[in-house]
């Protein structure tokens, strides 16, 4: 009995060692790539340009040097362009950084269903990997308010943002394109609705709440514009991306964030349908998810890394806007992705009517 047990244990250890050995060969490790494995190959990374894409390129520098791949940068990401490439069967974008929802909306159509045996997603924060995407980075949409205007009675959450009686002043919202699901959910909540049981009719209710903010409301078109609105003090309360909020504060804007229910947002990394060398694209993604790559990305861009072990060295002003601390994680509000994926066209239509002054 004892003998057999010992034998069994020994066998298990041997088997286990064998299995680990086999795994070590097969299973990818985030951030690692075989020396010279992509020599002579070319990959095109598509993203949103600016310091963000520069940061991504810096994060991938090690991957490029080790694998021998030639990395080209293109952008900005436009789903319509990608669609044209996929339809014409001539896909030149190998890895595409997209906004939150498109990988869910066009999963399997424009974006490949990912084979997770080729990626190490063990360090990616929970709930962020989709069928067709891994996160590119995290950031937040945060309520920033003018400290000089509101002094001792500052707004605390989005309900206050939508309450123009208690908190008079000019509001600035993201009008750069697509609706922000989380914001509409917060607007619905402010009008007494329940975002968890959201229906299509509720989209109208939520948009009405925003419309009632009045004709003075500013819909900024670019992140830079939102930053400029804070620095010039033109808006009293602003819905802002954390990266821009940080820069505005660094530049002396007298604004401070109200973190309650900040909206969790991420960019996604995807591989389009029909890319010429899928394995090379996987290799890039896998390298991108690595600890060191994510640290470099965070240091260069101030966006929150998506590797749980990443510990970027950032100064206090950047650290104040990183969204992966336990406190921030508790305060964050996650949108109802399923609802917005199902109702994306309807929401977009209603939102663009609001944006067109109706």
């Amino acid at each position: 009995m004892l003998k057999t047990k010992g034998l069994g244990l020994g066998a298990m250890v041997v088997l286990g060692a064998l299995a680990t050995a086999a795994f070590a060969q097969e299973k990818p490790v985030a951030g690692e790539v075989k020396e010279g494995s992509l020599k002579g190959k070319t990959l095109t990374l598509v993203s949103y340009g600016g310091i963000y894409q520069d940061g991504q390129a810096a994060a991938l520098k090690d991957f490029v040097e080790k694998s021998g791949v030639t990395l080209l940068n293109d952008g900005p990401t436009e789903i319509a362009k990608l669609q044209a490439q996929v339809e014409s069967g001539n896909v030149t974008w190998d890895v595409v950084d997209t906004a939150d929802l498109p990988p869910y909306v066009y999963c399997g159509k424009l974006f490949q269903k990912l084979d997770f045996s080729k990626l190490d997603i063990s360090k990616v924060p929970e709930g962020q990997v989709g069928e067709c995407s891994v996160p590119a980075m995290n950031y937040g949409v945060v309520l920033m308010y003018n400290t000089e205007k509101y002094k001792d009675n500052p707004p605390k959450d989005w309900a206050d943002f939508f309450n123009t009686e208690k908190f008079p002043g000019v509001r600035g919202l993201d009008g750069s394109g697509d609706p922000t699901g989380g914001l509409l959910e917060q607007a619905l909540k402010a009008s007494g609705g329940d975002p968890k049981a959201m229906t299509v009719a509720d989209i109208d209710k939520a948009i009405d709440v925003i419309r009632k903010l009045g004709p003075d409301t500013i819909y900024w078109k670019t992140g830079a514009e939102s930053q400029q609105l804070a620095e010039s003090g033109e808006a009293d309360m602003l819905m802002m991306w954390t990266g821009r909020a940080m820069t505005a504060v660094k530049n002396g804007a007298k604004y401070t964030p109200a973190w309650q229910d900040w909206l969790v947002v991420m960019d996604q990394m995807t591989i389009p349908v029909g890319v010429k060398d899928t394995d090379a694209a996987y290799a890039l993604l896998n390298a991108y998810l690595g600890k060191q790559a994510q640290e470099i990305l965070a240091q260069q861009t101030s966006y929150t890394p998506i590797n749980n072990e990443a510990q970027p060295k950032v100064d206090d002003s950047v650290a104040a806007f990183l969204t992966n601390t336990p406190e921030r994680e508790k305060q964050g509000y996650k949108q109802n992705i399923k609802f917005w994926v199902e109702n994306f066209p309807v929401a977009q239509e209603k939102w663009s009517a609001l944006m067109a002054g109706n």
Partner: protein, 289 residues
Amino acid sequence: MSASEPTSQPAGGRPAGAWKPFALTLPALVLLAAVIGYPLLTIVLRSLSEPEWGVQNYAWFFGAPVNLTVLQRTFTISAWVTLVCIVSAYPYAYLMTAVGPRVRLVLVLCVLIPFWVSGVVRTLSWVILLQDSGVINSLLRSVGFSGVRLIRTQTGVVIGMAQVLLPFMILPLYSVMKGIDLRLMRAAESLGARPSRAFFTVYLPLSLPGVYAGAIIVFILALGFYITPALLGGPRSTMLSTLVQSQVLSLLQWGRGGAMGVVLLAATFLLLALAAPVMRSRHREAGRR
């Protein structure tokens, strides 16, 4: 070559080499067919065939009030821009014909240098000028006026667009005006016309072809403006191109985007067709006088 040699044109017939000038336009025609004709055709076809064959995209366009509001607004804003351009370009172009060559060069450069600067840069400078804490408002406040809201209003959009489009008005105006014989004005005055009378009955009618040419170019360019209204305007000054953009780029509704483009094109043609007889008769009238 002697004078007695018969000309290549037999009396009453077509000149033998008449096709030659047309042949010379062939490269241009091929280019136009490739870069305008083909894409236009594709747009029309897609507007009728996506997601399925039929007029659903047009039905959608005319069924949604927001589209009609924005279409009307697009024409209103373009008309205002054209008007502002005419009023500000006319004296400028006149001055260009009246001054010496050196000053004219300076005036031409003043028109062309902004023309060479990217539209985005110019529009962003307008943001700096027009915003609530911007140059214009600070100036107004420093002399005791209360500030006016310019940015994110229709006024702001019209100002910005008019500045971008001004060269397209000045240049055709100038090219017509420099052909007007200024002695005609003196002749009119010597016949007893006051300067204003001489201007309105002689000079203005002769310069109208330039006004029409400039107005048409400015108006049509204004209809398709995208960057300026997007950056200087707010929801109440959204133009059709922005809606097209959101249909095509965010919703991938190429059919709807195509239908919007076709409607805009058709509306433009309709307007030009209506305006053409007016312009032609005025032109003839001017010729008669």
